[in-house]
Amino acid sequence: MAFNRVLPWIALAALLALPLGLTPYMHELVVKIMVLSVFALSLELLVGMTGLVSLGHAAFLGIGAYVTVLLSPEADPGWLPKLLAAAVAAAALYALFVGALSLRTKGVYFIMVTLAFAQMAYFVFHDTKLGGGTDGIYLNLRPVLGPIDSGAKLHLYYLVLGALAFTYALLALLRRSRFGHALAGIRVNEQRMRAAGFNTTAYKLAAFVLAGALAGLAGFLLAVKDGFVNPELLSWHESGAVLLMIILGGIGHLRGAVLGAVAFVLLKELFSTPALVGDRLAEHWQLTLGITIIAFVALLPKGLIGLPQRWRARKPPRRAADQGAAR
């Protein structure tokens, strides 16, 4: 267990030192994984910690990204703190609206309603001139803060790493707090929590808004990283992909979300690289990805993080003892 405790710190130290020995391609890939990790962590707060399965999480990512670009001045670089705060606030505001309505429903309804509200935001950017329509818009000059220029590769790397560390630490602390325990209680038995005097709807709404705000943070980072935004950021394919990441990694663990983001990006990279899988297959990478996911659902319902546990469970004598101890 001691090793498990220090693992995030080792990962942090490795990531801090990593830019020293990276090719540009790998550098780009690592930044992408870290941004998506922030996004996946924000959804983990909803799905893993609170038990709310949302299929519309990309809306908050997209809104954060769009606000960043729309509020950036044309000729000068924008001021980073202002843009960051605006992106997070806008995403949180839309999450408040969506959450207030969708939390009236449960289960399958909740999944569909969050999906529909994300689609609504998608159409706002897709059909109106507000954000350049289907083409999206470019962010010409990246935001700055004093000597920090998010357009510089190394600065961006540490900015994204800082955001990831912040998100991870925030959620880790949250899990141990009274608020986190209340969310866990709601996930396991909401009725009982209500009977115990908790205003469960308020707790769920708070979690929903916080998750939206963190997704907005990821959106800000994505816009700064890519330098452009388009409506596809809000599409339900993105929402599905991020849900896929946390399931891939393993629901109920913060590191599962990060692991899932790593696995998802690497799988996608692997399946779409002609040198590795051949031209014909690389062109149709979604097919291989789809088949992998289906196999995954069938064989590994607990995610990648459940793998070591599965291997341990293979040894019959220890299994009974382990389970006894767990109970």
């Binding site: 569909m112 529909a116 339900w236 599905g240 789809g290 992998t292």
Partner: protein, 289 residues
């Protein structure tokens, strides 16, 4: 807006609503009876449209015969699909259902791309449906659209008769209101599930085939229909066919007239409708107690 334009828009609204009903009725039954959230349902609509595109040359002017052939093929496809993939999902959590059906969408889209390519295609209506009828002094209305509405009405009636007047329908209704009780009464639930699923796939594919001559056949056409169908199911109440019918027509009207009055913001009208209904009745219009 004069009377004739208004009439044309009404016809369009009803026709769109009825088409949605075909897709949503299968979706709501699969939810209600099997408890499976099926993201791949839009793919069956796309499948139907591409099926129409692929087999239309073989049937020439025998359009009805083509629809029948497509219906049988897609029902068979649904039957096999249920056996191969969906039958494993019933005892799983919603999360895994979402994941598996999401993966199926990816697979279907790529298979479509490999088999038919990524071009946009058109399907010609048969000659006997290709004309227009005059409406007022200046307007005309395509015969094919009237045919589409009529076909949907016939199918909706057939669905009503099957669900309300047959023994199979009785089991379906019982399954939608209390799944465990049906199982407890010794009804062959595996077979029932397979039939309902095949029926849902066939209805969605039929909707795609009927829609093919009106809209073009293009990649990703399933996604939009899927989400609008979700909205229909949420508004109507899960498992209720009547609810799905009322909600489909409502969505058809809001969408069609939204396009007339607020061209740019028409995309969000349907979702606003859903938001209002959720505030008013969180479990849908026709939720059974």
């Amino acid at each position: 807006m004069d009377l004739a334009t208004f009439l044309v828009q009404c016809l369009n609204a009803v026709q769109y609503g009825l088409l949605l009903f075909l897709v949503a009725s299968g979706l709501t039954l699969i939810f209600g009876i099997m408890g499976v959230i099926n993201l791949a349902h839009g793919s069956f609509y796309m499948l139907g449209a591409y099926l129409a595109f692929s087999i239309a040359p073989f049937f020439g002017q025998h359009f009805l015969l083509m629809l029948l052939a497509g219906l049988l093929l897609s029902a068979l496809f649904g039957y096999v699909l249920e056996w191969a993939f969906y039958s494993y999902l019933y005892e799983r959590e919603h999360l895994q259902q979402v994941l598996m059906t999401y993966a199926l969408i990816l697979v279907f889209e790529e298979l479509r791309s490999i088999l038919v390519g990524n071009d946009v295609h058109g399907v010609k209506p048969p000659d006997w449906l290709a004309g227009t009828v005059p409406l007022g002094d200046l307007m005309t209305y395509p015969v094919y659209r009237l045919f589409a509405s009529a076909a949907c009405i016939v199918l909706a009636l057939a669905l009503y008769l099957v669900v309300n007047k047959t023994r199979l329908g009785m089991m379906i209704r019982a399954g939608a209101s209390n799944r465990d009780m049906v199982r407890g009464l010794g009804i062959d639930i595996t077979r029932l599930y397979r039939i309902v699923f095949a029926g849902g796939v066939a209805l969605a594919a039929l909707a795609g085939m009927i829609a093919a001559p009106m809209s073009s056949v293009y990649p990703g056409m399933g996604g939009h229909v899927l989400i609008i169908s979700f909205v229909v199911v949420v508004i109507g109440g899960i498992g209720s066919i009547t609810g799905a019918l009322v909600a489909s027509l409502l969505v058809g009207v809001v969408d069609t007239f939204g396009k007339v009055f607020f061209a740019e913001l028409s995309g969000i009208g349907v979702y606003l409708l859903m938001a209002v209904i959720l505030v008013w009745r969180p479990e849908g219009l026709m939720k059974r107690a």
